[in-house]
Structure formats: structure tokens, C-alpha cells
Amino acid sequence: MLVERGVRGLDRRLGLARFARTALNKVFPDHWSFMIGEIAMYCLVILILTGVYLTFFFVPDSRHVIYHGSYGPLRGVRMSAAYESTLHVTFDVRAGLLMRQIHHWAALLFVGSILVHLLRIFFTGAFRKPRELNWMVGLTLFLLALGNGFTGYSLPDDLLSGTGLRIAYSVLLSIPLAGPWLAFLVFGGEFPSDDIIPRLFVIHILIVPALIVGLLTVHLVMLVRQKHTQFAGRGRREDNVVGSKLWPTFTAKTLGLFFFVFAVCAALGGLAQINPVWLYGPFDPSAVSAGSQPDWYIGWLEGALRLMPPWELRIGGFEIPNPFFPGVLLPGITFTVLYLWPWIEERLTKDHAHHHILDRPRDRPRRTALGVAVLAFYVVLFLAGGNDVIAARFDLSVNAVTYVFRALVFVLPVVAAVVAYRLCNELAARDHDDEEKLALLERTPEGGYVDADRDPGSDPGNDTKVVT
């Protein structure tokens, strides 16, 4: 056979056949929620492909030029070379706008799928022993994705992203003792400095992507080493994995998923306008427009900045400025708690065992309620990031909208937690009722039936039947 001959040739030189065979037979559980992480990985592939293309045209330079390109409304306007090159790739490079928009949509989807993946891991308890380290690697990937989203969004040097950078500078500046020094090191001087665009470029296309690819490799190696978790079900136990083999079924499925993800990004990139920087105009430190919203994944921070009451701390003539609390302390606490969560939960539940069978959210009502509450908190912050848009759309006073959000950010999590907790118990009770009506019977060689469920060691084979 052709395959055998090819393998023999390679194996003689590398001796890989035995290992490769194990790899082909690796089993992947079939559950839709396991594909969310894959979506993130495929977004990364799309980001790298389209991103490399964009680097051929982008000029990371703050020096000022006068625009002479084909976009009429901005002709003759003074702008940075970075912004000019963004206009160039948008209007004067064939398929350039498409590449830019696919890149931007894929970035939004990338961060989104990482977040949903994280939620899946949290609510099903997949972070428990022995997977705590991989949870931390995943969180770091999430942080890196957020960072690379923000740096990429800032590169075109348009008015909207420049405003975002301005706020980021002010947040850095607010850090006690180190703030001014840190802000000057990162930005290369007082805002706005000419150094920041080239620096963001190197961070965005080299440093962070290299870290992401490296850590993603670690993430996957750990996954293969520890094998997948799985939901409980027939024949699924703590000491096995049930599902499709890597080759050929899983490979075909996941390739199909990759092409679908790419197709969706391409359709969005072609049909749905995103970040039309030509409408915002070049960055000008003394101009700003109302309705300035960042990309969605920064929305929670923007909302926190907006909802924060006018408080600051003064100690002996020194101050801790207002943006420090929503801009540094909030994300700091958020990620510290997330990083430590597997150990916090282990201490709370006193459960030190290894877990390979996943929880259903309803089976852990306390964890689920807590997760839902925290999620509600950040969703309110996210919505508050658009308080001016909401006020304008519904013809309300922006002050009133802000006051309502300030209350909601504390009330809604409590309500959500109570609802989630009761829902979990309700669902679990219903499952329990159903279980009582069901019995798994096993036929004995003598022709009688025994209740297979009563003996946890027995493996329900082919001749078991579910009887109502």
C-alpha cells in the first residue's frame, strides 16, 4: 500500500510510527461546548494570516504627512504616516479593506470565543485538579488576547483609538508612586508621544503573538498529556475518555469547523463594516467625539470608569486618583481571583480529588450562582460603557442612566445569583424525579434482570437496556 511505503521511508529515519499511531487514536469527546476553544484557535490562525498581509502595507510611524490618496474627504489633511497607510490599505489596495475587516472581526471573535470557553471551563468545573495549571495558562492567553486586541485597535492612529490610548495613559499615570514613571517609559514621554505607535506595532505583531503561540502550545501539550474531561454518560468514567478518534473523524470535523469559522469571518469582513477609521479622522489631541466606545472586550473597563463616583484617596498630601480604582484595582482583583480560583474552590469544598468527569452547572448550584452573579456584574459594567449611546437612543438623561447603572451593578448580581441558584435546584430536582422513574437493567446469563445502576463497578455493555 502507498501509505505503508511512505510511512516505512519516514519511520526508517525518524522511528515515529508507534507514537504517531497513538496520536491518531487519541479520543476526543463529542460535545459542542468543547469546540469553543477550537473556534478561538482558528480565529488565531485567521488573525495571523490576515495580519501578516496587513503588515506589508502598514507604516508604524507618527511622523506627519499630508494625505493625497483616493479618499476625497481627507485629501490635503495633515495626519500621521500610520493613519495614512491605513487609509492606503483601505482604499488603494485591492482586497485591502476586506483583509482589514476580516482581521478586525476575527479579533472580536477571538476574544469572544476565549471568554465563552473560559465560562464553559468554569461552570463545568473543568479547572479542578489536575488542570489548575492549564486554567492559569488559559487565563494568561485571555489576558494576552485582550492586550493584543487593544494594541491592534490603537495602531491606525485615528481619533477614536487615540482617545483610548489617552485614557490608557491616564490610568497608568494613576498608579501610586510608579505611575508617572511607568507612563513615561511605556509612552516614551508625556502623552501624546511619537514613540507609542512604533512600540505598539512591535508589541502587537511580534511580542504578544509569539507569547500567544508559545503558551497555546503549552496549553495543548498539557491537554494531550492530561487528556480531555468529559460529561457523565453511558460508559463514561473517571478512568476513560469516550468519543471520536483524532483520525479520521475528529480531523474532518475540526477542519470543517475551521473552514466555517473562516467563512463567517470572511462574510462579516465583506458585508459588515467594522472600525471605519476614515470616518473618525486622524488623531488630534484636542478633538474628541461623543459616543466614543472601545471594542467590546474593553467595554467593562470603560463602563467601570464611567460608573465610578467622584472619589479619590488623599493621604498626607499624596493622592490615589479616581481612575486607579476602576482602571487598575478592578482588573487586578478580577484576574487575581480568577488565577487563584481553583485553589479557592478546593479550600471551600475540601475536595482534593482528581476530576475528569465534568459537573453540570445545575449540580453545583453555589458555584453556578456565584459565576452568574460575577457575570452579571461585568455585563452591567459593559452596558454602562455605552451609557451615552443608551441615553441618546432612548432619549433619556445620561445622568439618570448612569445613576440607574450605579444601582444595577450591585442589585443585578444578587438577583441573578438567587435566580440561578433556584433554577439549579429546580432542574436538579427534576432530574432526580426522572432518575427515579428510570432504571438501568442488565440481563443475567440465567435470563433474569439485575439493576446495573446499583453496582458502580459494572460496565453497561451492549445488552443493557433502558427501561421506563
Binding site: 482617545t163 491616564s170 499615570l173 501610586p176 517609559l185 474532518a252 488630534d284 484636542s286 498630601g317 479616581n322
Partner: protein, 294 residues
């Protein structure tokens, strides 16, 4: 029955691969003819979607469905393995000239060497941090001063000096000190509140001649330009986080996260009727930092 399913699946796969081929060729054609963003997006989506559909149908209809079971072996090593690893790592054992096992004091046991190595690597690490300091200048007093000086002429965004006749009551423009148009830290809002001198706060009686008040345009919250002037209620609104300042009352914050008033620039009118600043701002402009009041 089974044959039917396979025949149908094969037909579906063939059709979707056909769609991919046609869409890809059309894509090349569109590109050659000058390109069209929407059409290109749709064609790429069709081409990739066809491919994706083909793979998924193949996986679900034509390939082994299982479920396959793989054993999960114990992850942990035995205590003996761990002990053996530790001793190998510490390199306690050696072989002598005859190839027999021999014990030698592992390198890890030489405490002095360990400490010296730690010190050497620590020092090198510390030294390698210093180039980071070159990334930016020291802040020095740059956060405490702007380009406004005693007697700086007030100019508009085109660099033209501003005369007391230029603004109607209720008018507002962005101004800079002469020679520094566009300087981010010196951007200032010039508002005419009245046609006679106004006092926004006790001690500022001479700061607003002919009704002209000037405030730093950099928000004291997060540094956005405070760009919106609501003339009817004489309030300035920062569009970023909705901090709101009362213009006639020393730009005191009345809503939003800002904790400090916008610094006011003391103005004067020169003999030719042009506006000038009496001095720089009397406090640092813009967002807060830990030692702003020092």
C-alpha cells in the same frame, strides 16, 4: 438503506466541493476585474463554507462514528520514580574508571557555589533591567507645567491671535499659547460668559477680563478633551466619561467621575486689545498622579 445514506452524502459533498471550486474561480475573476469588497467577502465565505460543509458531512456520514473508548491511565508517577528523578537531577551518582557506580558529592550540595551562582545571575538580571530606563525620559516637572507663560499671546487653532472683539457672549473656541498650536498639554477652552469681567471664584477677580474665562481642556479625570459646551446651562461635558463642570463656578465638577475642577488660566488684555495669559496654570493640568500636590 446504508447505501442510500452514503449515496446522498456523497452527492452533498460533491455539490459543496463544486460550490467551493466555482466560488474560488469567481473570486479570482472579481479580483482581476478590479475587486469589490462585498462580493469578495461573500465569495470567500461561499468557498470556505462549501469546504467546511464537505468536511463535516464526511465526518458525520462517511467516517467511523464510534463511540471509541480510550483508557485514562494514572497520571502521577510512583514515589520511587520521583525519588529517582530527584537524585538524578542532583547528580549524586557517578561512574568510576571501571564503569562501576560511585557516589560523589552532587554539585547541588556545594552551597557556596549555589549561592555565588545565585548572586551572579541576580546581578546580571538586575543590570539587564537598566536599559529599560532608556525607554522614556524621567517625568521631572513636565507634568507640572504647560507651554503657557506670563504674557503668552492667546491664539486660535489657526495660530491667529484672539481679540476681545472676536467672541460673542456664549461663544467658545479652543486656544493655545502663541507658538505652540496643537500642544496637547496647553489646549485651553476660551469661553465668553459676559461682556464685563467675571469672577469664577474668590481670589480670581482679575482672571476673566471682558467676560473671557479660560479653562484647561484636558479633563482632570482621564485626560480626554472636554469638548462639549452646553451653553444654556453653562456647563462643560467630557464626552468620554461624562464628567460635567460648572463654568461660572470655577469649573467645579458636578457630575461624573472627575474629582477636581478644571484648572483656570488667568487672562489679561494687552494694549492692542488682544488676550494674553497672566501666567501658567497655577496647578498641574489633566488627570491625577500620586504627587500632584507636592
Amino acid at each position: 438503506m446504508n447505501g442510500n445514506v452514503e449515496r446522498r452524502a456523497t452527492r452533498l459533498i460533491a455539490i459543496s466541493l463544486g460550490i467551493t471550486t466555482v466560488a474560488a474561480l469567481l473570486l479570482a475573476l472579481v479580483y482581476l476585474l478590479g475587486g469589490q469588497t462585498q462580493l469578495e467577502g461573500v465569495l470567500i465565505a461561499l468557498a470556505l463554507g462549501g469546504l467546511g460543509y464537505a468536511f463535516v458531512i464526511t465526518a458525520r456520514r462517511l467516517l467511523p462514528q464510534g463511540p471509541f473508548v480510550e483508557d485514562r491511565k494514572r497520571l502521577e508517577s510512583s514515589p520511587d520514580d520521583i525519588k529517582a528523578f530527584a537524585s538524578d537531577f542532583e547528580a549524586v551518582y557517578d561512574v568510576d574508571a571501571e564503569g562501576d557506580d560511585a557516589t560523589r558529592e552532587g554539585i547541588a550540595r556545594r552551597k557556596l557555589l549555589g549561592r555565588m551562582l545565585g548572586a551572579a545571575i541576580g546581578a546580571l538580571g538586575l543590570a539587564s533591567l537598566f536599559p529599560l530606563a532608556s525607554l522614556g525620559p524621567r517625568p521631572g516637572n513636565s507634568l507640572f507645567v504647560t507651554k503657557w507663560r506670563r504674557g503668552s499671546r492667546v491664539v486660535n487653532e489657526q495660530g491667529e491671535p484672539v481679540n476681545v472683539e472676536d467672541l460673542e457672549v456664549g461663544g467658545v473656541i479652543t486656544v493655545f499659547p502663541h507658538g505652540n498650536v496643537g500642544a496637547a498639554d496647553s489646549q485651553t477652552l476660551l469661553i465668553r460668559l459676559a461682556d464685563t469681567a467675571v469672577t469664577t471664584r474668590p481670589g480670581r477677580e482679575t482672571w476673566a477680563p471682558e467676560g473671557y474665562v479660560a479653562y484647561s481642556k484636558v479633563c482632570t479625570h482621564a485626560g480626554c478633551p472636554v469638548g462639549l459646551y452646553q451653553q444654556s446651562i453653562e456647563r462643560l461635558l467630557c464626552p468620554c466619561h461624562q464628567s460635567t463642570f460648572e463654568v461660572a463656578n470655577g469649573a467645579t465638577p458636578v457630575f461624573g467621575p472627575a474629582t477636581r475642577s478644571l484648572p483656570q488660566l488667568p487672562l489679561m488684555v494687552d494694549t492692542e486689545g488682544f488676550l494674553r495669559s497672566q501666567s501658567d496654570y497655577n496647578q498641574p493640568i489633566g488627570p491625577g498622579f500620586w504627587n500632584r500636590d507636592r
